[in-house]
Amino acid sequence: MARAYTSCVIPEPAPDVWRIVRDFNGLANWTGFVNDSRIENMMRADQIGCIRSFRLKDGGVIREKLLALSDYDMSCTYSILESPMAVTDYIATLSLTPVTDGNVTFAEWQADFDCPPGREEELTRHIGGNVFQSAFNALKKQLSGR
């Protein structure tokens, strides 16, 4: 099992950040690499068990299932059902924690997954950097430009 972990400080109050990232169907609004997204089977985006199907700007399609969502903890957990990446048993959690000092946000994104032997490092770097960090960067840029 491999783990990717990325965290950063977002210089905005946590509730403001959470309002954006809690939308399970909203990756296209803030990550910078998602073209469009829909929720399957007419379910709601905050209905536990719903599936989001989204297309990356590079054309890849990913389907992910919402496993847990908490407005109290400001955290969201989901698994990958289908993706171009060579990962299995992929479960990720995105969570926000308020930092009282300065009223900013500590954001964490972590994924645990299995993959073919020898590819752990490459995939960990890809997910932690090209996916999570790059999404955080896009989010910070968007918030700073408001």
């Binding site: 972990y5 990325t6 965290s7 400080v9 009282t100 000092d101 900013v104 500590f106 932690g128 960090q133």
Partner: protein, 492 residues
């Protein structure tokens, strides 16, 4: 329960921060409020380790490590003893890496129960004085600033008014330096050490005044070798625990009615074995006013008198603290109650529901009892008056009846010829409170039974007569001269 949480971002890698914070005994090397710390036994990263530390103002605290994880970079700990009433204080220190930039997220949080009305003040104290001050100290240390010299550092914790340099705390107590009248009782400042092994420290809010305290003071009972502090009943809050105490914790509301003496004090250390936890529906003043009397009434009625429905029960001093409980409780058990009291209190005792109230100052009670029972007498007689009533009580007791002599408010019972008991096959009991209440197993059924009668309304208690602790002598005077009805309570 209040929750305090503070978090910050440090510009240093998590391993560097964790290396400082992980040591449960090192806070005196980085936190400005801590003067000195030591682990009581074993290594500092042993779960269960207790750190005993002194603040800059000299007050001493003890905290215990509950969990420590090098994997998640967090630990939790709780407060065992503190002069600051952070009751049930459990805190957590948690670090997380900030991968973007290589910093560290540090969250310090806790939950505790403050005394009524002190939540905002104590929350601010913990947040500003402990957590934010700690953040700044670590930040300065990571910047490479010289550590703040302890001797000159400003104390960020307020000076505790109760703390002294010795680790003992100041305490005010009624002290008697010789046996005698109420005048031998004086309020004094005394040293109170932290509780020893197996003991707890209770801060009294209400202290019960009982006739046994008069006997303690006068020397009639050898309960106190002067100088010492009388009192065997109190209610309040647990503020500190000694080693090895289980089943009770800081912040618990408790009451007790047991030896050893020492209750006439703001705070005291004692064994918690016979302490009773108080529910929200029993106030501290009610507990202090009634626990000893209620427990006594319970074993007098159930274990000794074994009062049954339909029996006739004679109760002396029925307007007194225990008398009022006995009258109501015996009525609830279905007994026919005959009560004696003095003229001014007849109305009060009648209002309790007694079937017959005898003004013993106006008439001889024994013939009146016999007349009211077709010459039979009372099946059970509860006599706490002693000298003035004992002979009459024997006369008023039925054949095969039971005379329970449990006090001597009017003076010692004196010598009597027990051969006379045979004329009516009278059973005579002379119970000692301790023998019915000196273990948790003996005490528990009486406590639950008594609190049950309060909750059901079978026994109603008048508001106690309140005296400040400093006026304990006045309370004794009023009790001894029968100036009061109902219970007397010292307030702190």
């Amino acid at each position: 329960m209040v929750r305090v949480l503070a978090s910050t971002i440090l510009d240093a890698p998590i391993d560097q921060v964790w290396a400082i914070l992980r040591d449960f005994n090192a806070h005196d090397r980085w936190h400005p409020a801590i003067a000195q710390s030591r682990i009581e036994d074993g290594p500092a990263d042993m779960i269960g380790a207790v750190r005993r530390f002194r603040l800059q103002d000299g007050s001493e605290l003890r905290e215990q490590l509950l969990s420590l994880s090098d994997q998640t970079h967090e630990y939790r700990y709780c407060l065992l003893a503190s002069p600051i009433p952070l009751m049930r204080y459990v805190a957590r220190v948690r670090l997380r890496p900030v991968t973007d930039g290589g910093g560290t997220f540090w969250e310090w949080s806790s939950e505790f129960t403050p005394p009524a009305g002190r939540g905002p003040e104590l929350t601010a104290l913990v947040r500003d004085g402990i957590y934010l001050a700690g953040f700044e100290a670590i930040r300065a240390r990571l910047r490479g600033d010289a550590p703040v010299a302890r001797s000159s550092s400003p104390s960020v914790m307020p000076t505790s008014p109760l703390a002294t340099r010795s680790g003992n705390s100041r305490n005010r107590a009624i002290v008697i330096d010789r046996h005698g009248g109420p005048e031998v009782m004086h309020l004094q400042e005394v040293d109170l050490p932290p509780p020893g092994p197996g003991h707890v420290q209770i801060r009294h809010t209400a202290i019960g005044v009982n006739f046994i305290d008069v006997y303690t003071r006068s020397g009639y009972f050898p309960l106190l070798d002067p100088p010492g502090t009388p009192g065997m009943e109190g209610a309040g809050v647990i503020e500190a625990l000694g080693d090895g105490v289980t089943g009770i914790t800081i912040g618990d509301r408790v009451a007790y009615a047991c030896p050893p003496v020492g209750a006439y004090a703001e705070r005291r250390n004692m064994s918690p074995d016979l302490m009773v936890h108080l529910g929200d529906d029993i106030s501290d003043q009610t507990a202090a006013a009634s626990l000893l009397k209620g427990v006594s009434a319970s074993f007098l009625l159930y274990d000794i008198g074994r009062v049954q429905a339909g029996q006739t029960v004679l109760i002396h001093a029925a307007a007194g603290g225990i008398g009022q409980i006995l009258v109501q409780w015996a009525m609830a058990l279905g007994a026919r109650v005959i009560a004696t009291t003095s003229t001014a209190k007849v109305g009060l005792v009648e209002s309790l529901g007694a079937d017959l109230v005898i003004d013993y100052t106006a008439q001889d009670f024994a013939p009146t009892v016999l007349a009211a029972t077709q010459g039979q007498g009372a099946d059970v007689v509860f006599d706490s008056a002693g000298r003035t009533t004992f002979a009459g009580s024997l006369e008023a007791t039925a054949t095969r009846g039971h005379l329970v002599s449990f006090g001597q408010a009017s003076g010692p019972v004196g010598s009597h010829d027990i051969d006379r008991l045979a004329s009516k096959s009278i059973t005579l009991s002379r119970p000692n409170y301790a023998h019915y209440t000196d273990t948790p197993d003996k005490l528990a059924p009486h406590v639950s039974r008594f609190f049950g009668t309060l909750r059901s309304g079978e026994v109603k208690l008048a508001a106690p007569n309140l005296y400040p602790l400093a006026r304990a002598a006045d309370a004794h005077r009023d009790l001894e001269t029968r100036r009061t009805t109902g219970a007397l309570v010292l307030t702190v």
